[in-house]
């Protein structure tokens, strides 16, 4: 057992969950609910889907409690589950999104944000056109680059944690981030 992991509050809570303490699970949920939902939302751009997937993430954490060992940071494990589920969802729905894009483009040629159909989000997108362009640029990144950027920028995760989630080296993460930021800088230069 990694002594450093024992000191990590999340790992402590997860060990309590493993021992049958449901209040500890509520604490974990409180600490990571927003982070996970927001991360998934930025991947799928649909709040309803994001919350459903986030629920599945926490369900899997709960179901796996008996076999939990604090060998790595809890957040690495948590975001690995979230990433896996989200990428699977995107792959399963990629064909639908592409078809919808073609249909919409053929009508008016306007930018299309198909992943979110909720009225509130649509209003937000109309209101914040610059924001929409940023979203579009982030969405256009390859999966690994996008995940790395979302974790680095919005989840404030260290290179080693991102590397743990993506199952690659720290230098590979730095390379992914450099290429991603380079693309984003080029695409969004006119906004500066």
């Amino acid at each position: 057992m990694n002594p450093a992991a024992i000191l990590e509050p999340d790992a402590q809570l997860m060990l309590q969950v493993r021992a049958g303490d449901s209040a500890a699970f509520a604490d974990l949920l409180m600490r990571h609910r927003k982070g996970i939902v927001n991360f998934v939302y930025r991947m799928v751009r649909n709040q309803g889907v994001a919350e459903e997937l986030a629920q599945e993430v926490f369900l899997r954490v709960y179901r796996s409690r008996a076999s939990y060992e604090p060998t790595a940071k809890f957040t690495t494990w948590l975001y690995r589950i979230a990433t896996h589920l989200t990428l699977n969802w995107i792959r399963d729905h990629a064909k639908d999104s592409r078809q919808e894009t073609i249909d919409r483009d053929s009508v008016d040629g306007a930018p299309v944000y198909l992943r979110d159909s909720s009225p509130n989000a649509e209003q937000t997108l109309v209101k914040e056109s610059g924001n929409a362009e940023i979203r579009s640029a982030v969405d256009a990144l390859p999966d690994k680059q996008r995940i790395a950027v979302l974790m680095h920028k919005y989840q404030d995760m260290e290179y080693s944690q991102i590397a743990g989630v993506l199952n690659c080296s720290n230098s590979a993460v730095k390379s992914l981030l450099f290429r991603a930021y380079e693309s984003l800088r080029a695409r969004l230069a006119h906004l500066a």
Binding site: A23, V37, L59, R135
Partner: protein
Amino acid sequence: MEEVCYLRNGGEGALVDFVSGHSGQYAEVHAHAAACADCQRFIAEQAALWAALDADSAPEVAADFDRRLYAQLESVDGENWWQRTWRQMAGSAMSGFGRPVAALSLAVALIIGVAIMRQPPTPASAPVAADRPASLQAVNDIDQIEETLEDLEMLSLFANAPRSL
């Protein structure tokens, strides 16, 4: 000694860290950028991107997120999540000061129960005292006084007994 340019020597990561505020070599990068136009430009562009990305906000999590999750957890456990949490909380309270309090409450309830059972039944058809002869009423009063004294004597024994808790 010639200063090494971060941008020309594969040190872009250090510049990104500088912008994100996670740089372990902030002072060095800052000093270098002050004299290097290329690194300065990179930092300015990255800072602009960093600020632009801040605009990509995410909606608030639905208020019933936890309720929906707990409903699913119940199907995992086959037990009501709130009931289980309550049972655990009650269990932890019982392991502390709650245990003697519960024992005391049980004892009080038993005493009250016994006292109620010991009271003689008073049926509606029972004759009232005024209907009895005066001599019989006096005998009854003496019996009641004796009974009360016996009860008091028994209670005093309990009061002087050593505490077991």
